[in-house]
Point group: C2
Chain length 460, copies 2
């Protein structure tokens, strides 16, 4: 058993600071566990014998059964004593939600040091303090103390998130929920007195439910850089890591320093480090999830040659611009492929790359092009634009695109529109093919599939 | 009366090629007019005395009343005769939807020449051929021949669109509809044998319902460049023009050449021309509408100094990065402003720029900062981030942000989340304050407000 398992798959949990008082952190967390957690839950609060129907004890030590994980949501000065109790009780892991430690000054720093000593002596693992902690959609562990009506939880899925900013993690989970983005695990580690980003990356590498690791970071600790790079470089051989860096410009770095006390360090250094590590950098959180969607559903692209297939010329032009700007290629097709297409498609279709099936495109035309071009060795990936405003397209397009995945080349779809379009888009995504609303975002996803392959197959 | 008024505000319209046959262009267009157009509608089709309840005549000339606008949706070879009939009938304008002209080769080019001669002789104005024509949400003119169930129509609003690509215009209208983006007018001009982008820009300059002109273009006609620049440069003194250029890269330009026969010309030339003209360039259609939303609701930013106000540190960092990358400034606040804020805000708030109200932010804290900083001469615009996951924020935030518009400085809001967030976002937007889902997109909107002011106030 891995020592971090206790945070994601504990058998029993005690919420220290659980309370029936509305709006309090200790209440929201207890409600989270009551609703979703499959193991045993206990409250620790000397004022109550029971909190919201959950048995409550004066201290951790009073709980009559073994406790795997303790969640601490009480004022900072009282935390060291709880950590001592946890040591006595043989608790394996603690998530310390409470703030008021090194982030507020010298007094808090001392409390942190005190805790550190105890956990090292007793081998207790700790996430926090000053964090939102852990969200695990599979086990029901959820210490994010924002109530569901403000922060929705996303569906289970292949994405794991590691965030230096708690608010960012919360925002992202809430944002992802109505969009159907599947997130299995998220960690906000706060002051990271024990568990840090590097260890979490390594842990998620071994987790079979995780297909991509997404990181928000403002800065690494002093001396951590090399280890971060080396760890990531190993992990990307089996799983993609995507990163969003906060603090890139002069004023951004200063803002990050006030926010997470992130080590300044110029962005150029980080950028070079990510590249060396094989980490794919996103330029915003939408971009982060756009790329993750492709990487968790499609095979990597074995090369940079893209087939652009469209029923809307302008969208084909925009996709081509975007792909080429990203260093990808939209190669001319060979005469032999072109002559096959010319034979099978109406004469007004534009047979080059992009292939433009024009405004009376049928589902069958898409099938013809995919079946002709994808099996060839002329392209490595397909960017398929289906503007569903064209009345001759039907739902059959979903199956035709899905069937083309048999050629084992990645396919990325772009479609823009309202309800009708979104219905079809959902059906395509239910077949595990990613759909994007703009040619630029689809192109960026293709780029990620290519770039990840480069990193994945790098020697050494 | 302007000679283009006939396309947007005709009193009577004849649909040449109107038909009861399902799925046909002539039927969709007739249905559009029947449903929404406030003037008189006639069908022209020798096969029927009536089409869908609308009186039908063998030719334009047989209609017993005056016709302002003719819409032509019949095969290309029959079009010149209809244009002659229109001349005899004294029709003022024609929208020629039909394709099969210069875009298909020599034969079609000749038909186009024939039409040109007639319209010049008789002074008939023409949009098209080979186009989707005109959509006017105010008058109900709608020649976009895609049925509502495939292509929704957006609500009335201050945006006018001029598109070289018909499919792009259709896609954009459909996409805009469920997003509540207000579009008043859209024109797809196709082969532009008469009315072109330049004349449409000038027309929209004088239209009081239009607050921003959005253009999709792949290329200008030979020799048109200087006139385009000079016209735009004049217009931007009163209204912003935003452009999305298709065909920026080598392969993109080639694709555009097959699509709209756009003159190649390197993108660098276009880019320089747009700059000289004072046209704001978008890097994708989401970006185009993001910027338009700010420009149609907020005053231009008189300078580049931005106040970033947030309750989520990470989002503040990202916004600062994005603003600075775009050449804007997030200046440190003066000691006098800081001391006022320190007095009024709790000690754990981070008082610099970004101002971080932290995870227990209240509506009142936002009000305090806006009321203190905006009236000062230290910033020109505010980017306000309100992560509504914070349970201490309420709907009052809407009014507080709205009240701050009294300082006559532009305000742009960023909020990311699910239903609860989107509800509040809608309320803020109903007060004509733009809301964006990511700090990067909000920052780009701020940039547009600044950039437009530079162009608007340029001398000469």
């Amino acid at each position: 058993m891995h020592s971090l398992d206790v945070f994601f798959n504990p058998k029993s949990v005690a919420i220290v600071g659980a309370t029936p008082k509305t709006g309090k952190v200790g209440r929201v967390i207890l409600e989270n566990f009551k609703r979703k957690f499959k193991g045993k839950v206990y409250a620790v609060n000397p004022k109550y014998r029971e909190v919201l129907g959950v048995p409550s004890y004066p201290t951790l030590k009073d709980i009559p059964e073994d406790i795997d994980l303790g969640v601490i949501a009480i004022p900072a000065p009282s935390v060291p004593q709880v950590v001592r109790d946890a040591a006595d009780k043989n608790v394996k892991g603690l998530i310390i939600i409470s703030g008021g430690f090194s982030e507020v000054g010298e007094e808090g720093r001392k409390l942190e040091e005190e805790i550190k000593k105890i956990i090292i002596e007793y081998g207790i693992r700790v996430i926090g303090p000053n964090c939102l902690g852990v969200y695990d959609a599979f086990s029901g562990v959820d210490t994010f103390f924002l109530p569901e009506e403000r922060m929705r939880r996303p569906v289970k899925g292949p994405i794991a998130i590691i965030s230096q900013s708690g608010a960012f993690a919360a925002t992202i989970l809430d944002w992802a929920a109505p969009r159907g983005i599947g997130i299995g695990k998220a960690v906000s580690y706060g002051n990271k007195i024990d568990v840090d980003d590097i260890e979490l990356m390594k842990y998620f590498e071994k987790d079979p439910t995780v297909k991509a690791i997404l990181i928000y970071i403002e800065g690494l600790k002093k001396g951590q850089g090399l280890k971060f790079i080396e760890t990531a470089r190993e992990i990307v051989k089996s799983k993609p890591i995507l990163i969003l860096k906060g603090g890139k410009t002069k004023r951004g770095v200063e803002a990050a320093a006030s926010h997470t006390a992130a080590l300044a360090g110029t962005y150029e250094l980080y950028k070079a480090a990510f590249k060396q590590a094989g980490i794919i950098e996103a330029c915003g959180f939408e971009d982060l999830f756009d790329m993750a969607k492709a990487l968790t559903t499609q095979p990597p692209a074995q090369g940079k040659r893209v087939l652009v297939l469209t029923d809307a010329g302008g969208m084909g032009v925009m996709a081509t611009d975007a792909l080429e700007s990203l260093g990808l290629e939209v190669p001319e097709l060979s005469d032999s492929i072109k002559s096959v297409l010319k034979e099978k498609l109406p004469p007004h279709c534009i047979i080059r790359n992009p292939v433009d099936l024009t405004g009376d495109a049928t589902d069958e035309r898409y099938k013809i092009v995919l079946d002709t071009v994808l099996p060839s060795n002329e392209v490595d990936v397909a960017l398929v634009i289906t503007q569903m405003q064209v009345p001759t397209l039907t739902e059959k397009i979903v199956d035709y695109i899905y069937e083309a995945t048999k050629y084992r080349k990645p396919i990325v779809v772009c479609m823009t529109g309202s309800e009708f379009t979104e219905e079809i888009a959902k059906k395509i995504e239910s077949k595990n093919i990613p759909v994007y609303p703009s040619p630029e975002r689809a192109a960026k996803a293709v780029w990620a599939l290519y770039k990840y392959n480069v990193y994945r197959t790098r020697v050494g």
